[in-house]
Amino acid sequence: MKFGIIVFPGSNCDADCLHVMKNVMKQESEYIWHQESDLSAYDAIILPGGFSYGDYLRTGAIARFSPIMSAVVDYARQGGLVIGICNGFQILLEVGLLPGAMLRNRSLKFICDTVNLKVRQANTPFSNKLEEGQIIQVPIAHGEGNYYCDEKTLQELNDNKQIIFTYCGPEGEESLEYNPNGSLANIAGICNEKGNVLGMMPHPERCSEAVLGGTDGYKIFASMLNYLEEVGR
């Protein structure tokens, strides 16, 4: 399979994603500069973390106008797999592929840590190698991961089973105490209605190798591969 990793000015997890896809997942992978406009060669697209355009004005706000983003929107509408991690998630919100918006962390501080996530849906292209209710450990690192949407949207997210990952405690408690940033309903990751676009604040690429202290992230990328192999693009 061939993965494309989009590079905006200010992306800084692009190399990490490339490393994991290439050297750990052993897939053909390459960078796509934000001024490109053709995604036809790729089986899946990754929007990596970082500070595109310095995150000035609002996170993801300027990046969404990069030429590549209209291609990403088309790609997603045609059912292509798109995963946005951290800043990638923020960009997906701004461009409207996912509903809602990001606010600053409740603490107003950037926070770097490893958190527990509950897998809320396992039959998605991104979580089929995980089990529903399973608790995984994934690093976070962000200043604006406080997910917000209006009530109606939240209802829809619930009804359509679009909430994929939530922050939780070691026993799966989904309380405020285990919510690192104040996000609505402890949301850590959501997908679109069709299920082919995922946005998540935690960084699976930071826990895909044992030397980094955990491999739960590996399973998210393995799910994507599995899906692509089974269903095709």
Partner: protein, 83 residues
């Protein structure tokens, strides 16, 4: 030449953690009369445009697209002609 100020505020009902934090700090500093604090930003734009109407249209356009996020923010444009 026109100068515009676009005031961007969080929508009512959207929690403003920064405003909350500032309020708390002000209480700590003994300004107990402070009831509420909300924080917004404003964007000053100097632009050349044919006329006021065009300028206003352009500015609203910019705001809808880029300067404000309609999911969480409201905005208001103030426009003046400058020399």
């Amino acid at each position: 030449m026109f100068k515009a100020i676009i005031y961007v505020t969080l929508k009512e009902g959207v929690l403003d953690p920064q405003g909350e934090a500032v309020k708390k700090s002000l209480h700590v500093l003994n300004y107990e009369g402070v009831d509420e604090v909300r924080i917004g930003k404003f964007i000053e734009v100097w632009l050349k445009s044919q006329d006021e109407e065009t300028a206003r249209r352009e500015l609203e356009d910019m705001s809808d697209k880029l300067l404000a996020n309609p999911v969480i923010e409201d905005y208001r444009v103030e426009l003046m002609e400058v020399v």
